[in-house]
Each structure stands twice: as structure tokens, then as C-alpha cells.
Symmetry: C2
Amino acid sequence: MERHFVQELEELKERLLWMGSLAERAVHRSVQSLLGSDAALAQQVVEEESAINQMQIEIDDRVLQLLALQQLMATDLRFVLAVSRINADLERIGDQAVNIAQSALRVVQHPRVRPYIDLPRMSQAAEQMVRDSLNALVNKDTELARSVMLRDDHVDHLRDQVFRELLTYMMENSSVVFPAFELILVAKNLERIADHATNIAEDVIYMVAGRDVRHHALARR
Amino acid sequence: MERHFVQELEELKERLLWMGSLAERAVHRSVQSLLGSDAALAQQVVEEESAINQMQIEIDDRVLQLLALQQLMATDLRFVLAVSRINADLERIGDQAVNIAQSALRVVQHPRVRPYIDLPRMSQAAEQMVRDSLNALVNKDTELARSVMLRDDHVDHLRDQVFRELLTYMMENSSVVFPAFELILVAKNLERIADHATNIAEDVIYMVAGRDVRHHALARR
């Protein structure tokens, strides 16, 4: 019985990591499809969303069953609640990847506006945050989780830079307003992906250290 | 013991509704501050965010304690898990209201670009979705919850209209690019508020009917 339960927790973690790798891959490929003007790849990202959605429901079912059948210790309870929240964040990262892929599909219909100077840097930073938040989860590494949280400001800074660059470009040349606007939407999507990675990092700390670091709750305690 | 537990569930619900009313008020006032060019009101919305954040942590603590101390029946378990998810959505609605208030603070520094034709309609629709999702929660009204879910498309449609309008305006007159862009960001924020209301409505159905209606899971079953 005890062993069965340990195994269920381990399986839950493995499924969540699998979900994480799907979300991570979707983000990477959506950005690749945009930068490489690859409509076929963008289409694949859109089509693979349903696998992520299905996985989310499966993981939530496992969470519910674990909570219903087991009287969990505080540590395991925090783990299961963290999984439930991280699951939601991963699904929303998948949604953002689909939005980027859909922007890519619209952007390829316009002449290429300019080399996307800061967008690739921004996407690299956001992708690395997602990867590291999942690594922090696997290794219960609160230091890595903290470094993810700190990097959120950097991504916001890059986003402002991308906005300024594209708006200036739009002012100079009104014919690029529509394609440039798509890139602004992509920057917003990447910002949200970084936000979700930050949420995951906060949940890792909550899970490992039993402390709530959202809203700098730590500072208040 | 039994009675104590029923009371704790009731308190949890009351705190969540209080949190909901704070989030709802923040959205309403942030939009008012934008439409009325009221910097003082916008500033208030920014300052009152911490109350919402603190409430989120309090509610999550209550959820954890309930799960730790009680072996819950399936219905109560679904309720507690739904509260935990709705709590996160309400906090993010509060975040979006703060973003709108911050846009309002920047917009007042520019000459008014034009009457905001579709933005008030969009904000009314989004606010009504938040209100109705909470009413659905109070009254366990799955019909109302479903109507909230259906209205999400309408808000997306209004958002596209606002985008088109503002982009056309930017193309015609490059001097309005920056203030018009702020209004685009506000439309994005309202879109997200409507998304969160939709999430809440889905959780209400999950809670009441025990069915997962995310990603049209219902259709697949």
C-alpha cells in the first residue's frame, strides 16, 4: 500500500515532466517557425496542442485521485498541489506557443519586415526560463528556481525594447504596421511564457521549502 | 468536528467571494480611470493590488489546511481544488487591472487620441463575464457558467475590432502610435480578464457537475 502510493507520486511527477517537455518543444518550434518563415512547422505546433490539453486533464485526474484516496503528509500534499498548479501553467505555455505559431502563419503572408534583432534574444531567454524551471523541479533546486524568478525582469526589459523598436518602425513606415503588429503580439506571448516559468519556479520553492514566495511573501514573514 | 469542517468550507467560500469582489472592483475602477482620464483613481488601483495578493496567500493556506486535516469526500475535494484554481485566476484578474491602471497613467500624458468606441463595450462584456462567473459560483449555476464560456468568443471578436480600428488609426497618423498602442495593450488585458472568467466558469462546472469541460473534454467523453 505504502509502496503503491510512492509509485503513484513518482508517476505523477513523470507525467508532469513529460507534459513540460511537450510545452517546451511547442514553444521552441513555434519560435523557429516564425524566425524561419516555416508555415508547415507552425501548422504542426497548432495540431499538437490537443496532446498537451489531454495530458493536462490526465494529470488533474491523477491529482484528484491521489487526494481522494490518500491522507497525505504535509510535504506530499504540497507536492501534489504544486503539480496541480504547474500543470495549469504548462498548459498555458502550450497555448502561448499556439498563438505564436498562428502569428507565424499570418506573418509569412507579408514581406519580411526586418531582421528580428531582439525577438530571438527574448525567445531564448524565455525558453531557458521554462527549461530551468523544470530542471529546478526535477532536482528540487531552489537556487535555480530563484534564478528563474530573477530573470523575469530581464525578459520584460527585452519586451520593452522590442516594443520600442517595432513602434518606431511603424511610425517611419506605415506599410509595415500590420506585420510589425504581429511581432508585437509574439513579444507579448513570450512575456507570458516567462511569467508562467516564473510561476513554476515559485511553486518549486513552495514545494521544496514550504514557503510561499509569491508577491515576495517571504519578505513579509 | 463535522460541523467545524462544514463551517471551514463555508468560510473558504466567503473569503473567495470577497477576493472576487476585490478583483471585480479593481477591473471596473481601472477601466473607469482610463476612460475618465483619472490618474488618482488609477493610482488607487495600483495601491490596492497588495490586498488582493495577500488574500490569495490566505486562501491558499486555508486550502492546504483543509486538505491536510480532513479526509474529504469527492464533492468537497472538487470544491476545494476548484477554489484553489479560481483563487489563482482572481489574482491574475487583479494583475490585469493593475496593468490597465498603469496604461491609464501613461495615456493621460498624451492628448486624447479619439473616443474609445469599442473599448468600453469590450470592457463591459469582460466585466460582466467576471461578475457572472462569480454569480455562477455562488448559486452553483452551471447554465450561467456555460453562458460565460460562450461569451468569450464575443470578447475576442471585440478585441479584433479594437485592434483593427487602432491600427488603421496608427497608419493614418503616425503621431498617435504611442497612445494608440497603450489602448491596444488595454484590449489585450481585457481579453485576458475574459479568459480568466472563462476558466472560473469551467471550474464551476467541474465543481458542480464533476465534469471537466476544459478543451471541450465533455465532447470527447
